[in-house]
Point group: C2
Chain length 314, copies 2
């Protein structure tokens, strides 16, 4: 990796520590009744993950706010910066909660039946199935509660609510999971595989970018740039995941590698070959960078994240 | 039952048919990809239930709007009425979706492991466990999406989002389920039992009343009346459910009676005896009617629902 990527990784790690502390505060306390449920929710959310979704929220928000300041579209002030930071903390928490809930339900015996996640026992193994089900069920509304607390115009909150709801729902993440279930053992076309991943992983990654923009009251031109960036990166993330599933080992991944191939699930590698999938990730990377060119220097963090997502080894 | 209750039942049945038609439109089409997931969501939501939560939304909304018109607080017009009806349809749909998702997850093998619901096979029996899990997961964000579409001030939508999120979350319905799980085989005090039911069933019933009020832009005085009505009725509903669990038969209930007693779950009947529970329901009924007295004639539908909830036999 080059120096720019190293800097992105440093920023990403610092953001991951920051969002961890924010989530600590946003989640109900461990001792609050019902304590076991709250402990399970905290176990599901805290202590791990690259926090790519949260990072996308911050990077998109700072890109929009930075450009607005640079072009004097709005005055800078300490109060404004505080509001922006809080809005981004809330939006970033909300996507991390939805992501965490989806992993908990995805790991359940009736789904992927996984026992290891981020190097730790999965929630239903550590607690029990019923508690894992309920913890996931309770994380989802908490995400909407947090969005509703953003210190921005109510109209922006309403938009953000719809963006998150659609990214999580049957035409987003949950829909992608359903297609994934049905696709085991089948050969999918590139279009079908892409449709599944756009829903399953892309929708929430893409929503993260949009929520960052909404928290920073993005302009229509900024929305245009972010939308194109988001669709390219949402897909790139999954292509790289498929590549890593065959090239990385358990220690790097924190989960069992080769599992998708073993389950006979279609992946970009099974479809395009390893080199083909790597090339495709490179193309998407270029598209993402092109999309945010109009944001100028303010898009630096987004560019760094694009580098990281495509060049990461875990 | 008396004539007033008969009229309430008639209104409730008409509302149930109305919300059924509304939900038909609000849910994704059966053929929309992923079709199996959408079929499961529709199976979970459509074709049954008393729709008490939806009825509470409409009754609360019309009570507030009616009183506003009577006291000339706001002008009546066809457009205003259309907006009110649409806002109430969306709010009523959202609580029915959350209720339906909770039943689907509650019926899963790792929870109550129920095979019969409203006289039909439960969702995981009719489809499969993974699809039931995902259908529930997808119904929840759809509820928030619908709330966000209410044709009311954005600030009211934000409030409604928080009301629904908290009613559904770990300090509401999901929290009540978690306490219920932990309480099997234990003897709870009246306070502990009440806390569990206030969360498990009361929170969403209570939220239904509040959402109806928000959809009709309730005044602070109206909010005060609705809040007191909602807490009394939220509890009364569960007390009556416990009574019916020992007095009604399968045909009336549409589910297996005596199941809670068999599972050694604490109920109001096991705690207070049958007569004690019936008396308690009567007290709560009186409290609810007193709470809405300030609403005058506009509170008629709410009063009728209180009668129905306490005097029903299924």
């Amino acid at each position: 990796m080059n120096v720019a990527v190293d800097q992105s990784v440093e920023w990403l790690n610092a953001r991951a520590r920051h969002i961890e502390a924010v989530l600590e505060r946003m989640l109900p306390a461990e001792g609050a009744v019902p304590a076991r449920l709250h402990q399970a929710m905290r176990y599901a959310v805290l202590g791990g993950g690259k926090r790519v979704r949260a990072a996308l929220v911050y990077a998109a928000g700072y890109a929009c706010a930075g450009q607005q300041i640079a072009s004097n579209l709005s005055p800078d002030s300490t109060a404004r910066r505080k509001h922006l930071d809080l809005a981004l903390d809330l939006a970033a928490s909300s996507v991390e909660l939805v992501h965490a809930y989806s992993l908990v339900h995805d790991d359940l015996p009736c789904m992927d039946d996984d026992t290891l996640r981020r190097g730790k026992p999965t929630l239903h193994v550590k607690f029990d199935e019923a508690t894992a089900l309920l913890a996931g069920d309770a994380l989802q509304p908490l995400a909407f509660d947090l969005l509703a607390q953003m210190p921005v115009d109510a109209a922006l909150i309403v938009q953000a609510t719809q963006v998150l709801a659609r990214a999580a729902g049957s035409l987003g993440m949950a829909g992608g999971q359903a297609i994934d279930l049905e696709s085991v053992g089948k050969t999918l076309s590139r279009e079908q595989l892409q449709c599944m991943h756009v829903l399953k992983t892309g929708a929430l990654l893409s929503a993260s970018v949009t929520l960052g923009g909404l928290a920073a009251a993005m302009t229509p031109a900024q929305k245009h740039a972010l939308d194109a960036y988001a669709s390219a990166m949402g897909l790139a993330f999954q292509v790289v995941d498929d590549v890593l599933d065959v090239t990385a080992d358990t220690a790097q991944l924190g989960k069992t590698p080769g599992k998708d191939a073993a389950a006979n699930k279609p992946t970009y590698v099974s479809l395009m070959g390893l080199q083909g999938a790597q090339d495709f990730a490179g193309e998407l990377h270029a598209q993402a960078l092109e999309a945010i060119a109009p944001l100028g220097e303010s898009g630096e963090l987004l560019a760094g994240l694009a580098d990281f997502i495509v060049l990461r080894n875990h």
